[in-house]
Point group: D3
Chain length 223, copies 6
């Protein structure tokens, strides 16, 4: 029942890097408005922006044992995605584990629970998106699993999925869809650049997007 899957497939590094540039909001839109983690998942400091392959960890509430197990499974460019089997705000992860993740080439953490040592993590430039900041310690008593599908902050994350995270939150992209999503995301970015210029120059969205007729048909009245 409790397993560690050692070999997972990951998306191509260039695709992952491309998704990081596009950002959470664009990627989420590009894949049809799916994959977003709950908005309570907040970064511990502003400005971080990453995309990385998910090493998933299913943990017992207030028990961080499996995080130690998961570190060994991480490779360069991975991000750890931790989901407790029952809600918890405890501080599963701190600066020592961050050193360990970083030593493996890991680039950050997404955890539907608490994190601690946030000052040290901030100084290290180790980004974390979490539900809480909490110093509460955890135990090492109960097994979980590594690299199995998890539900993290309301979103299904499979091992090897691409996690995109920035100041807007966290989005999961299925590994198999990553190339296609990147293509669509880049198209959105290109399209938005043009729109941004026109809007900044004073054109209205009402005109750019041809909304006036449909608004009138729906019955909007100007008084």
């Amino acid at each position: 029942m409790n397993i560690v899957v050692q070999n997972i497939e990951r998306a191509d590094a260039e695709i992952v890097a491309g998704l990081a540039e596009c950002g959470v909001a664009t990627v989420h839109e590009a894949q049809g408005r799916i994959g977003l983690l709950a908005s309570y998942m907040r970064p511990i400091y502003a400005g971080a922006r990453v995309a990385a392959s998910a090493v998933t960890v299913s943990v017992a509430p207030c028990d961080n044992w499996m995080i130690h197990v998961a570190v060994e499974q991480m490779k360069a460019g991975d991000i750890m995605v931790v989901a407790p089997t029952s809600p918890s705000d405890a501080g599963y992860f701190g600066d020592l584990l961050a050193e360990s993740v970083r030593a493996r080439g890991g680039v950050g953490l997404v955890i539907d629970a608490g994190v601690r040592d946030v000052r040290d993590l901030t100084e290290m430039g180790f980004p974390v998106w979490s539900k809480a900041v909490c110093a509460q310690g955890t135990v090492k008593e109960t097994l979980g699993s590594v690299n199995v599908p998890v539900v993290c902050a309301g979103a299904l994350v499979n091992p090897g999925d691409v996690i995109v995270a920035d100041d807007d939150g966290v989005c999961a992209v299925a590994r198999a869809d990553a190339a296609e999503v990147l293509k669509k995301a880049r198209a959105r970015v290109a399209n938005e650049d043009d729109k941004r210029k026109r809007l900044a120059a004073g054109e209205l969205g009402l005109d750019i997007y041809n909304m006036r007729q449909r608004l009138a048909e729906k019955g909007l009245k100007y008084v």
Copy 2:
């Protein structure tokens, strides 16, 4: 039922500027402790401090269509105040809309829902006070209204009301009361400057405000 009110009255620009200087806590006190939006309304970055005339927008949940309509109604010195008709944390507003608002002279956004692209908004210096940061996209299907009275984060806001917002939150001042409130707020500021000096010099509030006798009468015992 769904209307856009095109001509609204606004408070005098000097009064608005004066209220910005006084800040939310002082203005809220000066008008008798009313008008405060719920404390879950937080700025997306620290340090912003604005006062502006409200262009109000009533929107459907997860539908940002009327925000595009509202942009056209904004003038220099306005702030957009968005209230969904049913609770929503979705990301109604991002950097493109901010460019559009700014092109009209708008100075910011107050939204009882979510906002996205907060990194770009922060770089633009476009202040937003919101209930959530959330990348979730919205649709453009259902009409709402612009420049009608709205309840935003528990406070009634009429179009043209002065919105004062800073790191302490958001306060609405009725347009008709703005001049009088500014007068009282400035009196408070002057009074507080004196108090601040005395307190910083070591005098006690117990003495400055003559509290000792009333405390004793109420029965406070020193042991």
Copy 3:
């Protein structure tokens, strides 16, 4: 029933300073994972790190009268710990009170309620850990007590307890235990420094902590 205890014992200043250096997470662990305030208690700005002796204040909801009374009881190196008798997010404390606390040598505030003037407090470098930022004013009508045991954000705090607070939250250490807790905390710090180096060098927690055998005994399978 409503009392002000004027003479409380405090921990030795060097012990208090030592606890500040160790930080919340370490101190909380060192004393057996007790004493942590709820994780909703957040600092108004990042980077503050203090330890100080608690002057406790039991206040009525939305009534900050006793805070004025408590200021007089503060000495150099104290921190005020405020707990309402019924939940409240109102803004009990602002920059004027901070000036007054600082004039007495007080170093900060922990309040299971709201705080306001956070921009000024940040500029002053006056740290506050609170449940909310809220401009809502309070009254001065109902007595409370100063330097009695209080439950603040779910933790029991006695007057003179050492409060340790940083970006991870707030922890209370019983005065009588402070020396012993410091000793254990320093041992943890020393131990962690060594671990940090080994982890940063790529050793795994699985090996450092000898976890592999116990994981296997519990039934973990690698696939």
Copy 4:
């Protein structure tokens, strides 16, 4: 600033009674999906169903003084609508006040705060919709106002508005619109009765509402 408005207009008793029969969901729909109080407003017991004219009360947090003032303003068929100026879960209202309201002909209470003595209130058959059940006592120190516009649980309520409340929650209907809303609500009820029979007999909403073509046009695929 603190006033008691003694003469308010009320809707016609027959209209009020008609709205009670239609229920919250129908009335809310009939008036264009507005006027609903937040869904955290729950009845203290199941099965109550009322419509009544609002006597509004603006109260200070944790202060129920104005409720005593408001009782005097109640007439037969009224319901008291209480909104604190700052959030509070305290128990503003219990069985004694219910006796007093009932003696004036009042039919219930809507309060964006706490209520207590719920066992007694249930035995009396005195319905209350509240944010919380809480025994915490309140003080009588700060004035508020009676029969002024209030924002209660996110909805604007004017004195004399018709409050409709049942197991689904609470809805406010503007007095001036009450007759028209009743007409539309009754039309909905009649229409729904027919629909209910057809649906219960196995017809599908897809067919009754002619949805299939529009679904196909939008791109829904059956696989």
Copy 5:
């Protein structure tokens, strides 16, 4: 992207019935403490106890169009499981839809959002587990999907999974595991019956489960 899967496999009716008898807590334990929906999912009335095959529905926030589509896919013994793509408390479902579901043989609803007409639903004996009771109406503008995997209240539910629901909440059992889970659940029930008798007769769990030695080894002291 938006699909309706018309043919799904369901678990054997006898297995489903067996799981209903065992109840949520037992089934959840029997399958290794997985599959539980969040504890905010509460029944609209006490005493309902069902197990049924899931017809899953992914809906847009505040949009119940796909529920109408899903009704057609329901068969005798099914339960509808609705998950919005963005959080919503709106009232997606009421008595008319319940009549329609019942006409197809459906036995209830699990919805990570709001439900309305709860009085009528209670009188019908139509059980619903929901996040909220809310009269807020929804629109019919945006497509979703039927019988695709959904994350509902934090749990992954696949179409055809067995949903077990009672006063303790809701649990999902993978269809393929249902027979095995039932076997284990029945073993637990049998075992618990014996334990219940011994405990009711005054034997202690400390003795029945042989806990005393392990407690002593861990260091528990009796004083």
Copy 6:
């Protein structure tokens, strides 16, 4: 560190019984508005009304081992009061434990966490006040303590304190104060009976409590 205190003092049985009759709201008032647990502590069924001596249990999050230990310490007329050291909604307690508590003469449970088997508990007439209903199982790995002071739902509870609980929530009375509190509570009950009659007969609180003059002095205006 982890202890079980075997001999605790309890209040006199007649005093405990007297407090039960007075109820939570009255007892809370009689002792000066202290001792109330947070209003999120709700009974699993309506109508229960108990007073009993607290056997306190400090438990690890999601670990119910110490509850088994605590059962042995219960005597006739006791109630178990459980507080996790870190927040948890897991289901620590079900019908088997209730049988065991009842076999010792225990009368109920107060738990700042989750409970399960609520249907069975309701049928047994075993009252529980909890933060959540949740089927999530717990482990038996980490020690805690029995009959030590605990903070439960924001209130300090010492072993042997009298717990009063009914539909309004839960209140703790210090053992040493119980006789005095009962006296005051009975005085309140007597006084309220008289008030209730006068209010029910149509007298106003404004007159009974002589409020009119003070309201006028504070500045209340009738318009």
